[in-house]
């Protein structure tokens, strides 16, 4: 990595001495602070960042939006995704008591939910241990930004043997008027043995100025625990979003993740899953939908460090205009991880000549008794299918829309929360409606 100064790194340096309160304790922060003091950001020369245009982000000097105006209807429209969930709202990085459901609603539920900044004692220790245990590497500068600068975030802990608990819906809203908004929420989710939970993280942004969002999430599942973890990105076209998620799944645990990247100027999502015991399972799903000059970048890393684990990844990209998609998935099967079953599939649909995708599914296998497969495709709409629909009276625009929606639905149909499935499919349809122009 090369040393470069830019507006953003200068701004980061100014934050290092800030005396505001932070999400995590000094002990967890300080290694990140020293990394940040180095001021080193990746450039296009770094192999891992070759495709990711960070220019807009690095040019900006965030400030504070003091004119937050949120209307009730807007919040309600976001809540539509999960009307019966327990909702928690973060507004410009701060926990919003006003818009969040009262924590008392969860009393005696076996669920402990709290803004990270309010944690104390053993809970704080548990949260910070989870962070320190993560798989994110030390050269991951954006994790250091999150840890070093985060003012808040969410801690979720589920006690043992809790099933069928109300899903949690966390909404992060950034508002940017006149000045670039910056937030970096740190989230910790721990699910104890034989418990199951569903969490939906939704990211939205408002305002005419730019937004930077740099979340870091740390997830730990104990033996036999299950988590359905949804990430919904519907930020506006001035938003740059770079997130890191580290997940550790103990024996017989099941981690199910869905990511829907349906907005922003740039999103780069790095998801790392590591099995820490045998018989664990990870199911990763996602759709990225880009138009104009959007850049959507999905990275996954799966560490099969134990035998009898399975992972199944299925990501689909739809790219229009000059947008660009990246899928970079690495599955590592370690020497003693016998009976591993690892599947990885990435399919992309290019709707315009200028759209582009770079896909790189990778398998590194050091065990001999495994079942692994991966594949990637990049293609256009099937002209035979288009003609078939047209020959039944459906015009080209609608036929294109139907086929593109269907392409995404192969993934979205696996969302097993009805309201969320409808919400995501409607968002996709609405975006497609705008971008699919009949190419007569």
């Amino acid at each position: 990595m090369a040393h470069t100064t830019n507006n953003f790194s200068e701004w980061v340096n100014l934050q290092l001495d800030s005396d505001s309160s932070f999400a995590v304790s000094e002990a967890v922060r300080s290694p990140s602070l020293s990394k940040l003091a180095g001021g080193v950001f990746p450039t296009r020369k770094d192999e891992e960042w070759r495709y990711t245009p960070l220019g807009d982000l690095l040019d900006s000097s965030p400030g504070r939006d003091t004119t937050v105006v949120l209307d009730h209807e807007y919040i309600e429209s976001l809540k539509q995704a999960m009307p019966s969930a327990h909702t928690i709202v973060f507004l410009n990085g701060e926990y919003s008591q006003k818009y969040s459901d009262s924590p008392t609603a969860l009393e005696d539920s076996g669920l402990n939910i709290s803004p990270l900044g309010q944690l104390e004692g053993t809970a704080l220790k548990l949260a910070e241990d989870t962070i320190l245990n993560s798989t994110l590497t030390d050269d991951n500068i954006f994790q250091h930004i999150a840890l070093g600068l985060s003012q808040n975030g969410l801690f979720i802990e589920v006690n043992k043997n809790i099933e069928g608990q109300t899903p949690i819906h966390v909404i992060y809203i950034s508002t940017a008027h006149g000045v670039t908004a910056f937030t970096s929420p740190v989230n910790v989710i721990r699910v104890s043995s034989n418990s199951h939970l569903k969490v939906v993280e939704q990211y939205a942004s408002l305002g005419e100025a730019a937004v930077i969002t740099v979340p870091a999430s740390y997830v730990q599942l104990e033996d036999g625990a299950g988590l359905d973890y949804y990430k919904i990105g519907i930020e506006n076209a001035r938003t740059n979003h770079i997130c890191n998620t580290s997940v550790r799944v103990a024996g017989s645990g099941t981690f199910r993740s869905h990511q829907y990247l349906l907005g922003s100027n740039l999103t780069r999502s790095n998801l790392e899953v590591s099995f820490t015991g045998p018989g664990a399972e990870a199911i990763l799903r996602g759709v990225y939908l880009g138009d104009e000059n959007q850049h959507l970048d999905v990275r996954t890393y799966l560490d099969h460090a134990h035998p009898h684990c399975s992972s199944d990844q299925h990501f689909r990209g739809i790219l229009n205009g000059h947008s660009r998609g990246v899928f970079n998935g690495l599955v590592l099967v370690q020497e003693h991880a016998q009976k591993t079953d690892a599947q990885q599939s990435n399919k992309n649909l290019l709707l315009s000549r200028d759209a582009r995708v770079d896909t790189k599914p990778q398998l590194e296998i050091f065990a001999d008794d495994v079942k692994c497969a991966h594949g990637a495709t990049v293609g256009e709409l099937d002209s035979d299918a288009l003609f078939y629909l047209q020959s039944r009276g459906i015009d080209k625009k609608d036929a294109t829309l139907m086929l593109t929606r269907a392409f995404a639905a192969e993934v979205t149909q696996e969302i097993d929360i009805d309201s969320l499935q409808t919400y995501v499919q409607d968002k996709i349809s609405a975006s497609l409606d705008e971008i699919v122009i009949p190419s007569v």
């Binding site: 099937d382 002209s383 035979d384 299918a385 003609f387 078939y388 629909l389 047209q390 020959s391 039944r392 009276g393 459906i394 015009d395 080209k396 609608d398 036929a399 139907m402 086929l403 929606r405 269907a406 392409f407 639905a409 192969e410 007569v440």
Partner: protein
């Protein structure tokens, strides 16, 4: 109804149809027979507006409209229907909602009110009995996981629901056992009326035992080399195509 004059069509510079003439009047059933590769599917595709064909000469009019200038969906909305020789599988698009959308596009075009889900369902259930199709196939994506016979029945089901004025059946009979053949033919015969016409492309005489054509045409190397009544089909069954092709060549 359908009037084709001197139609010449090529694919990638290769001439396929070489001056084809055909007149179909309301209420008539025309059978088109001919050896493999003679251009039968090409004719069906050009009439329904598939891309990739270049019309080098001639014309095709349907109800007085210049077919060759119409988008495929407009032809369908005007009452044309093609039963595909190889129906396309469309993953992710539900068979029922696809057909409902198609029907409502056609109804809109005709200035009729769109059918709601309940009315549509009762219509489709009625027509499914006609083709003896399993109801479960309605819930699946279009043609996906259908057997060869189920795909062909699905074509006839679509035809029954969309109720076209002119239907072109491209080898709907091939690959069907005799029971399925009877069902498909039954579907066509139910729709038969003084206003509707059919062009039935087939390779075998046997379909014509069930769908009695008014005219039989033999297509060979892009031209109709002989036309006759249903007796011509019987003669072809007995003698094959070769004698006809030789006869046509000796005339040149």
């Amino acid at each position: 109804m359908l009037s084709i004059k001197n139609l010449q069509v090529s694919v990638e510079e290769k001439p396929i149809l070489k001056g084809l003439n055909l007149e179909v009047k309301p209420g008539e059933i025309h059978a088109i027979m001919g050896p493999n590769g003679s251009g039968k599917s090409t004719l069906a595709h050009v009439l329904s507006g598939r891309e990739g064909y270049s019309v080098d000469a001639g014309s095709a009019h349907y109800k007085g409209l210049n077919l060759l200038e119409m988008a495929p969906e407009i032809r369908a909305r005007e009452g044309m229907f093609l039963a595909f020789q190889y129906p396309i599988e469309i993953p992710g698009v539900n068979n029922t909602s696809f057909l409902k959308k198609a029907l409502n596009e056609i109804r809109k075009h005709r200035g009729e009110e769109e059918l709601d889900a309940i009315d549509f369902l009762s219509l489709i259930k009625k027509q499914m009995k006609l083709v003896e199709m399993k109801e479960e196939l309605l819930k699946r994506p279009v043609n996906q996981g259908f057997s060869g016979g189920e795909k062909k029945r699905n074509e006839i089901l679509q035809m029954a629901v969309l109720n076209p004025t002119l239907a072109i059946l491209d080898e709907t009979d091939s690959g069907l056992d005799i029971d399925a053949l009877r069902i498909v033919a039954g579907g066509v015969n139910k729709l038969r009326s003084a206003d509707n016409s059919f062009v039935v492309i087939t390779h075998y005489q046997r379909l014509l035992d069930y769908i009695i054509p008014d005219f039989v045409h033999v297509l060979s190397d892009g031209q109709i080399i002989k036309s006759g009544t249903k007796d011509l089909a019987l003669e072809l069954e007995e003698r094959g195509y070769d004698w006809l092709i030789e006869e046509a060549e000796s005339k040149d």
